[in-house]
Symmetry: C2
Subunit: 482 residues, 2 copies
């Protein structure tokens, strides 16, 4: 009997020691803060354990996203320094309210489909020359002609979010929700690609992320071409230049922010000629701003995209010059081309893998990922909203955390589902995905991982600045001042 008890204790302890974060030693202040945090977490879990219906995080994200903000634990996590965001897409980052406000800008034209299910926008001094199903209207005129500005804006706002009241009925499957998700990007395409808007959107993205305690960003962008009122059209290179310039301006305005780098991530549902063109563009941008462009990726609904295997020769070529940060395994299929993109990402020597949702089904790749320290960019809320997993307690991140895989959290397109830049992803991970035992050490390690696995050239500076902020955060909790 004694031996059984001892073995149980030994196994449990050894396993806890294997978890992400468990090599961290907490200071006395951290221990105090930890107690506060863990009491809140345990209360939350205990309630859910006894009354699973009341456990917010196993509902649909749309149902609980605002509700959880009221909790003290969420607010603590909100104030927590989160390190870097390494997996986030250009124009999916800000809230529908923000986008709605953009439609108040001057010279904006709008075109609806007959049934108002779809909009297009264009900034122009004169009526846009593009075809329109109905007719182009000046947004300001359409809004006031509507007679009810509030209702008009409420209707318009629906085009800028995938959040709806009855997601389980409407978003019946991955394709259904992806259709709405992609519609957002198509619909807002020319709203955002107006150069002044693009600059403002990105500047305000940095502002929002900084406010959510993010200190550095690696942004994936399709580098769509931009335009202005004078009829100029700017190509992908110019878009990259724009990112760099706005980043520099932002860093001047907010010197505590560590800036941003760019990952060129065009659409993956293309032919080889287009891919070749992407690669030429990437290399051109790299020549122009070698410190700013850090990598290459391909994006889009993975099940329906071209498998990486098809592009293996091209990707093997570009990786000689530019690092790869590849989406792979963003699927709940097993043994399909999308699932097996994970093999390509690994053999291509990707620096990080985006999502890697399917990786738990690949024991050998798990080993390789650990051995090669390929970081996994995990987007828990995104995977829930985009229908890969319903209950975050079944998210494979739990497995990755349990065996100290090189993981970091990110948020993909938080604006599109009305999440905060990073707080929701940290909260859901901490309360629903990670072990009940996972504590402040996990939170700290996840933030630190986002720095370690970033492309920032002087990581010790990042880490040093992070540590100072972390100490303040801990003090605030201990003094109950968060």
């Amino acid at each position: 009997m004694q031996s059984v008890l001892e073995e149980r204790k030994d196994l449990l302890e050894r396993e806890l020691a294997m978890m992400v974060g468990n090599s961290i030693e907490l200071s006395d202040s951290e221990l105090k803060a930890n107690e506060i945090i863990m009491n809140l977490k345990h209360d939350e879990i205990q309630r859910g354990f006894l009354h699973p219906k009341q456990f917010n995080l196993s509902k649909h994200f749309f149902e609980y996203k605002d509700e959880v903000k009221k909790t003290k634990l969420f607010q603590i996590i909100q104030s927590m320094p989160k390190g870097a965001v390494l997996h986030a897409h250009d124009t999916g980052l800000l809230s529908p309210d923000y986008v709605l406000a953009l439609t108040y800008w001057e010279d904006l034209w709008v075109c609806w489909t007959e049934d108002k299910s779809f909009t297009e926008f264009y900034f122009s001094k004169i009526i846009p020359a593009f075809p329109c199903d109905t007719e182009w209207e000046l947004m300001s005129e359409a809004r006031y002609a509507s007679g009810d500005v509030e209702q008009f804006d409420a209707d318009l706002r629906k085009h800028f979010t995938i959040v709806i009241d009855n997601p389980n009925e409407v978003y019946t499957d991955v394709n259904a929700v992806w259709q709405k998700f992609q519609q957002y990007f198509i619909s807002t395409g020319n709203l955002f690609s107006y150069k002044p808007v693009y600059e403002q959107y990105y500047y305000d993205t940095l502002l929002e992320f900084r406010k959510d305690q993010v200190m550095y960003l690696e942004i994936r962008s399709t580098l769509q071409s931009l335009y202005d009122l004078d009829g100029n059209v700017f190509d992908a290179v110019e878009t990259a230049v724009t990112y760099k310039r706005v980043t520099e301006k932002f860093m001047k305005d907010y010197p505590d922010f560590f800036g941003a780098k760019l990952i060129y991530a065009p659409l993956k549902l293309v032919d080889k000629a287009t891919l070749q063109e992407y690669i030429r563009t990437a290399l051109l941008i790299q020549r122009l701003m070698p410190d700013f462009l850090v990598g290459f990726d391909l994006v889009g609904q993975e099940d329906l995209g071209v498998p990486l295997r098809e592009f293996l020769p091209e990707l093997a070529e570009i990786r000689e010059q530019l690092d790869l940060y590849l989406h792979a395994g963003e699927t709940n299929w097993y043994g399909t081309a999308s699932d097996e993109n994970l093999f390509d990402a690994v053999v291509l020597g990707a620096k990080r893998i985006g999502h890697a949702f399917a990786l738990t089904k690949h024991p050998l790749l798990m080993e390789e990922v650990k051995k090669r320290q390929i970081a996994l960019e995990i987007n828990v809320v995104s995977n829930s909203v985009l229908k890969l997993v319903q209950d975050p307690r079944n998210h494979p991140l739990a497995t990755y955390l349990s065996q100290n895989m090189p993981v970091l959290l990110s948020s993909d397109d938080p604006g599109v589902w009305e999440a905060l830049p990073m707080s929701h992803d940290f909260y859901v991970t901490f309360v629903a995905v990670a072990s009940r035992h996972a504590d402040l050490k996990l939170l700290k390690q996840l933030a630190l991982n986002s720095l370690y696995y970033s492309s920032y050239p002087e990581k010790h500076k990042l880490v040093h600045a992070f540590e100072i902020r972390w100490t303040k955060f801990i003090d605030a909790i201990v003094k109950d001042k968060w």
Copy 2:
């Protein structure tokens, strides 16, 4: 580039070789059958991959359970020899139609609650002496007094199944569905515990399982006490004797069936005194029928049950005399007592673990389970219906299969959710959980595993008989005679 291609191929091949079943070599006939089966499987997956909404197996089980029966692949799997069933509960095994037919037996009395939401039954020559919310009626009289026998039976049948039209609305969480599930057992308790019914139910269970190509059963039972019309009450020992006697009768009637063994599995939500009594009963039965009683377990909704840890001394004691086949980790929580029952099951040296749904979150326990060859009794359909996981593609079995964990399939309580004894569990596993590449080798290995990890004393005989049936099965496929 060449090296990248080679490495990809090598990793993929090595990983496929790690899967459950991939050490099996297929004969020429098996290769032909495999081609037929894999074409059907690939068609099914391809359709779902392109149109996820049409993929039956990611809907609710109640929605697709009858639909899939029409497919050729299901029918092939239905005719496949499935080996043994090692995780199935006494009175949860037969369909509601079967149970309904039992209510036509003579001398049955029924008691409804006022709102007809709950029934109790009792067989008796005179009105039962137990209290009744309304009043005891003779079932035959109640049925004919109703005026509409068809409607009466349809209403009554609802008490014998948890299948409903709108499961996602009514069964909102684990507790909600478990409540209905437990109500089934409570409601039917005295219907089944009438000794003649109990005997018939078990005999017909063996018949149904045999029909679904099962050759041997290890049945878990709470060994409820039985009664007869003469006022006799029979205790757990007598119930065990009944199981043994009916098994022997069945084997005489069907000499191709390899019989059954008993795992005594009383309720786990009890105090220590009750556990002590269970253990005394178990050891008494073992003394009386050492070849028939093979093990001990505890059952009930795991999150709400007493953690195994509380019972560690008692379980450590009994395992010296009787093997343990423990439910553990039937939860989607992580780091809770229910999750950590997995530690107890492992250190107690359980021969097999029931469910082990949470095991993917325990890397060290995974290793131990492999090392000690503790078989995992996986119940995919049960875990979906009882709300641990929504989409079977996210079932942890996929991970276990990928790394050749000692797994076998079982069906828990298939009658209660109107599944076939084993065919649905095999079908869902094959098409939705396992890799797209997993083929006949997987199916064969899973069936073989159920024999290897059974307590049947002469396994070579089981395996030999299985191989003969398997060959016939293969021939039938090849000749398209299934």
